[in-house]
Symmetry: C2
Subunit: 328 residues, 2 copies
């Protein structure tokens, strides 16, 4: 009765050969320890606190599409897959309720499965998200699909930016892009850049703090600051005007303005808030850098979008819409 001993609903049919599938699931669950929750049933049962809404998102990390084996350790691959999904909860200012995993693991990755599980566990623990269910399959490429569940009384969307708000970003931007550039050239990235690339943080606590302070719109920087703010501008029906010097000052050492605007997979937060909300106090409260990088204006006759101040009337930042390193 192997499946019944599992604390969460972990299916593993057609997976790793007779007997081995449950052994693999059990090994992962052992690594996670009390991080797992569930009822050992067909599905997990969870409670949404009264007055809170459910926030859900799913995010796949596929080998050679979202990561390369040569660039990251198995633990980092697991950690990043879970962090990318958890970051979507942060973007809504939601509190994590749990996560579900679907992992497809080829034979060539089988010995790395526990290390991958450790990385997933690190990310889940850092976010306070129990692992409530999963499904393990064999396959021809490593794929980690993470579905995150969270709750929030008032989720912060992309559509709340108002003319007069200021625009902010957490952290220091550009590191992941500089790390990727080095890796793609076959070079070893600077340790600081590599750390930003391999060990991003989902800004869960920071997002909730910012929402309580009065953030009006929020997004996580997954496609690049300019591309992600373009989503905020479109959803809110506003124009976002960035101050080039402020954006450049928010970049990691060695990164240029264009890097800070284009770098994806940062998992930092970009947000709008009235100046009166004084969200700069985040740094003193939670120890995470935050910079005011621009302002929100009426969309006006020229329409919405994102532009750089001083770049001339109606000039738009013309950057790639997304972070697309592996597109084929």
């Amino acid at each position: 009765m192997p499946r019944d001993e599992l604390p969460a609903r972990w299916a593993a049919h057609h997976a790793l050969g007779p007997g081995r599938e449950f052994d693999a699931v059990r090994a992962m669950l052992a690594r996670w320890g009390d991080l797992t929750r569930g009822v050992g049933d067909d599905a997990a049962v969870l409670d949404v606190p009264p007055g809170e809404r459910l926030v859900v998102s799913t995010d796949a990390s596929v080998e050679d599409r979202h990561f390369r084996r040569a660039w990251l350790t198995p633990g980092e691959i697991g950690y990043r897959a879970a962090t990318a999904a958890l970051s979507d909860l942060a973007a809504m200012a939601a509190r994590p309720l749990g996560l579900l995993l679907a992992i497809t693991v080829p034979g060539s990755w089988r010995d790395d499965l526990e290390a991958i599980a450790d990385g997933i566990g690190d990310a889940a623990r850092a976010a306070g998200a129990p692992i409530v269910g999963g499904d393990l399959s064999g396959g021809r490429e490593l794929a980690i699909t993470v579905t995150v569940l969270g709750t929030a009384a008032s989720p912060v969307g992309r559509d709340g930016a108002r003319a007069g708000d200021a625009v902010y970003a957490t952290g220091r931007l550009g590191g992941p892009l500089l790390a990727l550039r080095a890796l793609e050239r076959g070079e070893r990235p600077d340790a600081a850049y590599r750390d930003r690339f391999a060990r991003p943080r989902a800004r869960i606590a920071e997002a909730r703090w910012l929402a309580e302070r009065g953030a009006t719109a929020m997004i996580d920087v997954s496609d690049g600051l300019a591309a992600d703010l373009r989503h905020v501008a479109a959803a809110s029906g506003v124009r976002i005007v960035l101050d080039p010097d402020s954006v450049a000052a928010a970049a990691v050492s060695g990164a240029e303005l264009a890097d800070a605007l284009a770098s994806g997979e940062e998992y930092e937060l970009a947000l709008t808030a009235p100046r009166s909300a004084r969200v700069e106090a985040l740094e003193a409260a939670l120890g995470v850098a935050i910079a005011r990088i621009g302002r929100v204006e009426e969309a006006g006759a020229g329409g919405g979008g994102v532009e750089l101040a001083g770049a001339g009337e109606g000039a738009r930042v013309d950057l790639p819409r997304g972070h697309d390193h592996f597109s084929s």
Copy 2:
């Protein structure tokens, strides 16, 4: 601003090449029409009705592991992937709240994506489950991961079977196994068997009806009746004694007792309930066959498990624990 036009949070980075990813997502969303819900944000926001609990499960369907391209149409592959996941909600007697999709699509499947989406849409519509989010990626094999969300005031688990209860199964068992046997021999399966294999139903309405009538434990038949009831016996700490004649009578025409016990991917329900609950009225109420196939006894000195009546003291049904056609 392609992503902002999407009604649900559909990420599609690193997917199908510049521009094409959003085109593909938009084409799928167009097929689904008003079946999609969402806020076009980093995550979808949903409400759990007061007094209800959240029920969640995730289920991956991977090419050559869970299905073969030669055996099913693209629409059937999408339909089955969604139905398998929705069936886990049925097993808990939950009402669907929504589903999230992560689809990995290789170039060789790209032209079939809309047909796959149609099949997923058919299954979601049949279950009354809106599509609330997703993630589209490129990859080397087709994989469809479906996460289902549902709600129930009192989810029915595997652990509620009590000595004295009767054991029931819905539908007619054995069809999927007989279809698979023919397909594996390179033969064309009997149309009735193929239909059971290719177009199973998630017994959502039936499960809720049965729960209201007093079902004490429930599971969906995904690994085979005997294997799945073994989970119920273990979780409930009981022995389940099946009546061979009744199981054989619940099989599809042409299937034998062993087929009905072993056939997986049925997505019918196996359940326990007191005789006084009169769950046989399901057939008159909802038009779905149901058969009483056994009884629940104290685990006793011989432990729990599943056995066939008349097979001798302590004899256990010695069947494979799961449905493992593609294990390598």
